[in-house]
């Protein structure tokens, strides 16, 4: 059987070579289809990986309560209801809300300006709670992150991003001082530099903290909701709530929403973001993308397949006499069918290979010119190739059967 299959393939190869241009043109549809499938799978996988990475970085057991900017009018209305945005009171309130909640951290953007650093980076400066680094999984390369003592004692210390440290050179090391406005802060820790660029999506902002400075956020005791200091301790940028496990995320998110609604008197000056929900949304969006991808792939391969069928039907008609000769020397109907099936399969396999090569070039161009995230996996190469082969067999089947059915006497008499 093997030598026979080999002989079919060799014969198929020779007959395709006879009409090089025709073979190439007939297979263009499949080439385009395979390229399209590969590009789409690679970009899809890349985007998926990017989004998942970002969401996972946020922590799947974390729930974020982010500050929301209000219009002037809404701001006035909010102030009437004594809602001043996210406050330290919210942090304390959420901390004692439920045993499901393990830890609550907060971060506040502050308007300080580093002086005399001599570098052209305008850093983002945040005050944060001691647990913030742990909640976000920040990687401290040198020194340590801010601790509770720093916060309680309101120490003049800071943790700086990897890029900041690199730019500052010897001034950016642990133990050195940075001046911000009129105060000096001692660098106690340096974060690991992250090479990936921060990418923004609709709801999730991924920061690599390369150019960030963290300072301790002091939380005074005995905060009351309507206390005089509330406004001063308001305007947090974000509160991060960590729950015990994934199962707790959904009920905790509901609880947080209710608590925030109560605390803020129904004023929606915050957003509750649940990364786990974002993950589900991302996966759902991915499924839709996959469906679209399947339809596009199916259409392009259908067009390619019709091209193959067309050319194979023409080939069968042209080679009637050859079919007759082969039948006369002992070929069965099955042998004839296999012969033409081998030809259409070989044709689409060549198309598939060219398409994969084109796909590699295209994704390389897309990655470098458009800056899209690309992920070439075994699946993104194998699936288009297998689809091309299946197209060859599927659309080559009818012409092959037509060839096999031909009357050997009529074919021998064909001109």
């Amino acid at each position: 059987m093997m030598p026979q299959v080999l002989s079919f393939i060799i014969t198929a190869y020779h007959s395709l070579l006879i009409h090089k241009l025709r073979s190439l043109l007939s297979v263009l549809g499949v080439v385009c289809g395979v390229m399209a499938v590969m590009i789409m799978i690679s970009t899809g996988e890349g985007a998926k990986k990017e989004v998942l990475g970002r969401i996972e970085q946020m922590g799947l057991t974390n729930i974020y309560v982010n500050d929301k900017l209000l219009s002037e009018e809404l701001q006035k209305r909010a102030e009437k209801k004594r809602s001043y945005g996210l406050s330290l009171y919210d942090v304390e309130y959420l901390r004692s809300l439920s045993p499901m909640i393990v830890s609550v951290g907060a971060v506040q953007k502050v308007a300080l300006t580093p002086v005399g650093t001599g570098i052209n980076i305008i850093p983002s400066i945040f005050k944060c709670t001691a647990n913030y680094g742990e909640l976000l999984g920040l990687d401290v390369r040198r020194g340590r992150f801010i601790n509770v003592q720093d916060s309680l004692n309101n120490r003049q210390v800071c943790v700086i991003g990897g890029l900041m440290s690199e730019r500052l050179g010897s001034d950016g090391r642990v133990g050195k001082l940075i001046r911000m406005d009129d105060r000096l802060y001692t660098i106690i820790g340096v974060l690991r530099k992250v090479d990936k660029k921060p990418v923004k999506t609709a709801k999730v902002t991924n920061q690599n903290f390369n150019d960030t400075i963290f300072l301790p956020l002091n939380i005074p005791h005995n905060l009351t909701k309507f206390g005089t200091s509330i406004a001063q301790h308001s305007m947090l940028s974000s509160i991060v709530v960590e729950v015990a496990n994934r199962e707790n995320v959904e009920p905790a998110a509901r609880l947080i929403n209710r608590a925030m609604e109560y605390n803020h008197q129904g004023v929606l000056d915050y957003d509750v973001i649940v990364p786990l929900e974002l993950l589900d949304q991302a996966l759902a969006a991915q499924n839709i993308f996959n469906l679209v991808l399947t339809v596009i792939a199916a259409v392009s391969l259908l067009v390619g397949g019709i091209g193959i069928m067309n050319i194979m039907l023409a080939t069968v008609t042209e080679r009637k006499r050859e079919i007759g000769i082969r039948r006369a020397v002992g070929a069965t109907r099955k042998d004839i069918a296999f012969q033409f099936l081998a030809e259409s399969s070989l044709l689409t396999m060549c198309g598939g290979t060219i398409g994969i090569a084109g796909g590699f070039i295209s994704v390389f161009v897309i990655e470098n010119l458009a800056g899209w995230p690309i992920e070439i996996t075994v699946v993104s190469v194998v699936i288009p190739f297998v689809l091309a082969c299946v197209t060859g067999v599927f659309f080559g089947y009818y012409p092959a059967v037509q060839a096999a059915k031909m009357d050997p006497i009529k074919t021998l008499r064909a001109e």
């Binding site: 026979q4 014969t11 000769i325 082969r326 039948r327 006369a328 020397v329 002992g330 069965t332």
Partner: protein, 220 residues
């Protein structure tokens, strides 16, 4: 008895009319016999040869070849017999233009389970028998008519068939080349190959040991 053909009828439907081609035809051929069937164009010679070769089936009658009932066999079994026991030689040579002499002579082996080294020796031997070893790498368009027919004969011979069926083998050749081909048939017969040759030419038919006349679908 190598071939038994009894009370065979065959007709073709052309439009509303049924045209009889073979009518109550009997034919018996012994092993090693050389039989010529002569007849005018349209007398049914080629149809007879196609049925003998298992490429066509009669409407009625019986046909046994090498003790096999050819009419009860499946397409695969008839193909097997064509590939192992029969060799065809056509008037128009029927060579594949994209293959060289070796490729054309090897063609029947595509459908047989023969070891590649054996194929090479069978093919070489067959090409040698028709005297074309020096042209084995040439393609059909590089050969003369006589040479092309010799390649076709080599293709028929290569599988060492029990019988060769030749349909007007000299029909497209000049007299000199025809003579060469007929000499080749004589030689094959002398080495024990059974041959059935169909021709309208008396000179060609005369090369055989038995001549049968075909007229209106009957053998005289």
């Amino acid at each position: 008895m190598l071939l038994e053909f009894k009370r065979v009828f065959k007709s073709y439907q052309i439009g509303k009319n049924k045209i009889p081609v073979l009518q109550d035809l009997d034919l018996f051929v012994n092993e090693g016999e050389f039989v010529s069937i002569m007849g005018t164009s349209g007398s049914g010679k080629s149809t007879l040869l196609h049925i003998l070769g298992g490429l066509d089936t009669p409407d009625e009658g019986t046909y046994r070849f090498n003790a096999r009932d050819m009419l009860s066999l499946s397409d695969e079994e008839r193909s097997w017999i064509r590939g192992h026991w029969l060799g065809f030689v056509f008037q128009t040579f029927n060579l594949l233009s994209e293959l060289d002499v070796v490729g054309n002579v090897s063609l029947p082996f595509t459908y047989r389970k023969t070891k590649p080294e054996k194929i090479a020796s069978h093919v070489e031997h067959a090409i040698d028998r028709v005297g074309l070893l020096h042209r084995k790498g040439h393609r059909p368009f590089e050969l003369s008519g006589g040479e092309m027919q010799r390649v076709a004969i080599a293709r028929a011979l290569a599988v060492n068939p029990k019988m060769i069926l030749a349909d007007e083998p000299t029909g497209n050749l000049d007299s000199r080349n025809s003579e060469h081909i007929l000499d080749l048939f004589r030689e094959l017969h002398q080495t024990g190959t059974s041959i059935i040759l169909v021709s309208h030419d008396e000179k060609v038919a005369a090369v055989s040991e038995r001549i049968l006349q075909m007229e209106d679908g009957c053998l005289q």
